[in-house]
């Protein structure tokens, strides 16, 4: 069984947020809920000031702290390593949000739409979840099950995101992690994240 993961090359990310938008379109997440987003920061001083970008999403940890603390079993880890939330089982206790060091989860508190008091037909069709639950990236599990890549990976215009099987050393994702010495965020927490970053 594969163990899915991702590597993101920060050297070629241009901070366009195409991943953010592709994710929103794929999952029809409500306002304020982002499965994937791009953090940005200004570094250096004039005339050498520049902006740097850090795309973040759920790290689909091998030892997910969120799954351990979830009191209902709503958070589950699939055999292929993808960590998902069953929205029907979530009671909205937010213990998973307290346990996740990456801030990858969002509490969908109130019913909210992008248009005033009205869901678009697209939202009506895609939003099959109630409010009062916690939401997060699921590596586009439905797409992955169909042999497709996650929407953010497919959309990225610079191909800075590579998705694949971490357990197979021949896959592109494994080779890039090995060759470019990619590393995960907060490795010291011991959660063994499946999202790696390349930064020079």
């Amino acid at each position: 069984m594969a163990r899915y993961g991702m590597v993101i090359d920060l050297n070629i990310c241009i901070g366009c947020n195409a991943c953010t938008m592709a994710c929103k379109a794929e999952h029809a997440t409500p306002p304020g809920v982002f499965y994937s987003k791009v953090l940005e920061k200004e570094v250096g001083k004039y005339p050498a000031a520049r902006r740097v970008f850090l795309p973040v999403l759920c790290n689909h940890c091998k030892n997910p702290a969120c799954e351990e603390v979830c009191p209902t079993g709503a958070t589950q880890k699939r055999d292929d390593g993808i960590v998902t939330i069953d929205h029907e089982l979530c009671i909205g206790c937010r213990s998973c949000m307290e346990a996740c060091p990456y801030g990858a989860r969002t509490f969908h508190k109130d019913e909210a739409t992008y248009y005033v008091n009205e869901k678009t037909p697209f939202e009506e069709m895609k939003q099959n979840f109630a409010n009062g639950i916690v939401m997060k990236c699921n590596f586009c599990a439905d797409r992955v099950d169909q042999g497709l890549e996650p929407a953010c990976v497919q959309t990225c215009p610079t191909e800075c995101r590579i998705f694949g099987d971490l357990d197979d050393p021949k896959t592109k994702v494994s080779r890039i992690i090995a060759e470019k010495k990619a590393r995960p965020l907060l490795a010291e927490k011991g959660l063994e994240p499946s999202v790696f970053y390349v930064g020079s």
Binding site: L10, G73, I91, G92, A130
Partner: protein, 289 residues
Amino acid sequence: MSAQLDEFLIDVKPQKEWGWLVITYLFLGGAGAGLFMVSLYMAHPWAEAFGLLILILGTLFLMLDLGRPERFWRAFFRARSSWISRGCYFIAALVLLGGLNVLIDFTVSDWGILTTILRVGAVAAAVAVMIYTGFVLSPSAAIPFWNSTFFPIIFFAYSLLAGIDFLILASPILPPPAIEVAQLEKIQFGLVLLCLLLVMSHLSVMSGSAVAARKSIQLLTRGKWAVLFIGGVIGIGLVVPLLLAGPVLWQASFQTVFAVTAVLALLRLFGDYLFRFLVIRAGLYDPLL
């Protein structure tokens, strides 16, 4: 120009998900279990029932905090790994076994060995309710200030302290048997000293911990929560009651005056609530890198 991974030392971030509803549960849940345990020892069925009522009230606050309160029963399904799930069993066990104990004490009946089993079970459940919330916080990989083995012990001590304070406050209106408030005040003196020692030890250990834990301590001792922590938790909640009660407690002529003991109890309860408030609000996530 290439991006440097280490440039993303994005600052620590406060946790904002758990607020006053959870804090109020931590306070009332612990106090209710503490009050029940002490009352059981004193075989005072009215006080036992009062303790269970406080616990149930606290649990209602916890349920109100849920995003989907009508699904609360699902929280019983993951006791193998989740302390919140285990807590649900502890609360249910305490309400059930505690309720049966209240019945036994009210009816002055003896169910033989079953009485002993129920009493031991109820005490175990009460202790579990008092400490499990510490275990909810202490394994946290995300919030280093909570990642401390002190929390279960601190919450136990504070819960017992608050439980006895509720008993002292209720003592004039509770039916017989009479409550020995003077004895309780002596116990409180010891518990306050214990709480002070545990809180200081926790701060001391955390001051050498991860960056977010050190920032939490800064918030509590020099930052935006310093007045509430030093003035409220340490000063009003612990030191002032020690100074007021200490000099007279062990005098041979010591007698309690309700107005005075009530003030002491209220000061300690204020400090207890504030402590739980600040523990939750001072929780900070480590920077991403």
